[in-house]
Subunit: 327 residues, 2 copies
Amino acid sequence: MTKGKKWVLEKHFQGMPKRSDMKIVEFDLPPIKDGSVLLEAVYLSVDPYMRVFSARLSEGVTMIGEQIARVIESKNAEFPVGTNVLIEAGWVSHSVSDGKNLTKIPPYPEGVPLSLALGTLGMPGMTANYGLVDVCSPKAGEVVVVSGAAGAVGNVVGQIAKIKGCKVIGFAGSDEKVAWLKQLGFDEAFNYKKIKDLDATLKSVAPNGIDIYYDNVGGQFSSTVLDNMARLGRIACCGSISSYNDTKPLLLPAVHGTLIFKEITMRGFIIFSYRDRYPEWVQRNIQWIKEGKLKYKEHVTKGYDKMFDAFVELFSGTNTGKAVVEV
Amino acid sequence: MTKGKKWVLEKHFQGMPKRSDMKIVEFDLPPIKDGSVLLEAVYLSVDPYMRVFSARLSEGVTMIGEQIARVIESKNAEFPVGTNVLIEAGWVSHSVSDGKNLTKIPPYPEGVPLSLALGTLGMPGMTANYGLVDVCSPKAGEVVVVSGAAGAVGNVVGQIAKIKGCKVIGFAGSDEKVAWLKQLGFDEAFNYKKIKDLDATLKSVAPNGIDIYYDNVGGQFSSTVLDNMARLGRIACCGSISSYNDTKPLLLPAVHGTLIFKEITMRGFIIFSYRDRYPEWVQRNIQWIKEGKLKYKEHVTKGYDKMFDAFVELFSGTNTGKAVVEV
């Protein structure tokens, strides 16, 4: 019998997640039936959304999440031993599937790592495509601001905005991140922790206003960006990581007047509502990678037992690019 | 020589407009040239947007606004004496035009007053059409909340939402207004001044959440409505009358998290950006009036010299339906 491990949410997080809120539990996997496969996690994803969605889980259940898993035993001809798949199995080391909830990972160009199926070629890359292209309709020459720009989603957003001919201004939380954004071709990149006056900075780099704001952070930062939007501006509300660990509601200046008199659209979205479009975006991103227009970086934490550490690092801004855990 | 009167903005409003901020000035109109007409105001509009847009005016200029005027002298065959037109001439009793900035008022059904060209068949009626139908795409069975529901825009919004088969919940500021909303066919109508717990009220009338919020008021009220939106809800940010006279920014709970996790769209708009579509909407509203599906009410103040009084009454909520001044 195969033994597996799972991360259980012992207690709902209050503020910043604590190690004692979670527990690693060993369990036995059932023998597989005809049509089923036994999977072993290869890479597990840690993402900011998990912090928010965890509030909907019952205490005592396995933490939610996606992983790249490999078939290690198969009674399903469609998924022979060795097949790499995506599965939303949660934070587990092993799982059994009848194949219905598995997505095969398409062939990648030479040298592109498998783990990218959790990043630029996975959910965050899909989020960037939908949120920038579908929600904001960028046009050449427009000014795009991206917050959380060195994160898994933000870096892809900025690069697609450059492909679309926009002027791209990125904000991230360290000088190293800023240096990477400049390598990626961002027109301007700032370490927001070192900015004394965000309003003045925005006015200097976007004197005619910001056409598109791709918001990964929320909070006061986004309030100041809103003040600097151009007429008919569009805001993709993708993440609000600055407030996920808040224990009381943050008060900010009311948005209504600005939205009206600048004729602005703010749209929140969750990428899981658009799964049927993933294949289209995966192929588009693969093509851009081949053409050298879309680069990537990963922040890899080794060891299944380190998942919690990799997760909380998201909120201290440790990762540049996509954070994944390698088993 | 014809003598005219104009209302001049002597001093930018600070907080609630004061009578001393404005002044009535007499002036001489020039004799009309070939191709021009002399116009006399018949009905003048007072609208909340004027409070906001006045901040962009220089002190000492004529207050902005639209009016229904009659041609009293003509050297333009297209606009003979007696023609009724719409003109954005500001708060003036008389004006001269070469015809280019005039809109002829189309024939109305029997019994429909001319003044409706400033209300249900004018800018506010257009605002209701665009903001509800184009911005929010109402579907039969959806739940629509309208604030400022007995105002010039709100009452039309609620009636169109009923025509579209929605459940319509209106909020207004007096029992008389509420009674009128019920006459108009609103499914639920409340005097917001008498509600002890808006959140509980919304949960009782929209237990599955609000699909569409047509926001005329902004402020804390709109913040509570946002908390009660359904997934994929749409918010038309049309007005923020509760804060137009505020002297410092109002702080409200941040909207970002709610927009994201409920996948909500908030869109601000100004109807003047869509003037080319007015004729389509005017005809649609006329048709609905003929069919008895769209009713109207006006709050008429008599006397050009009373314009300021009619204007400030907008902010105390005195008017039910469209506020106009009859010369």
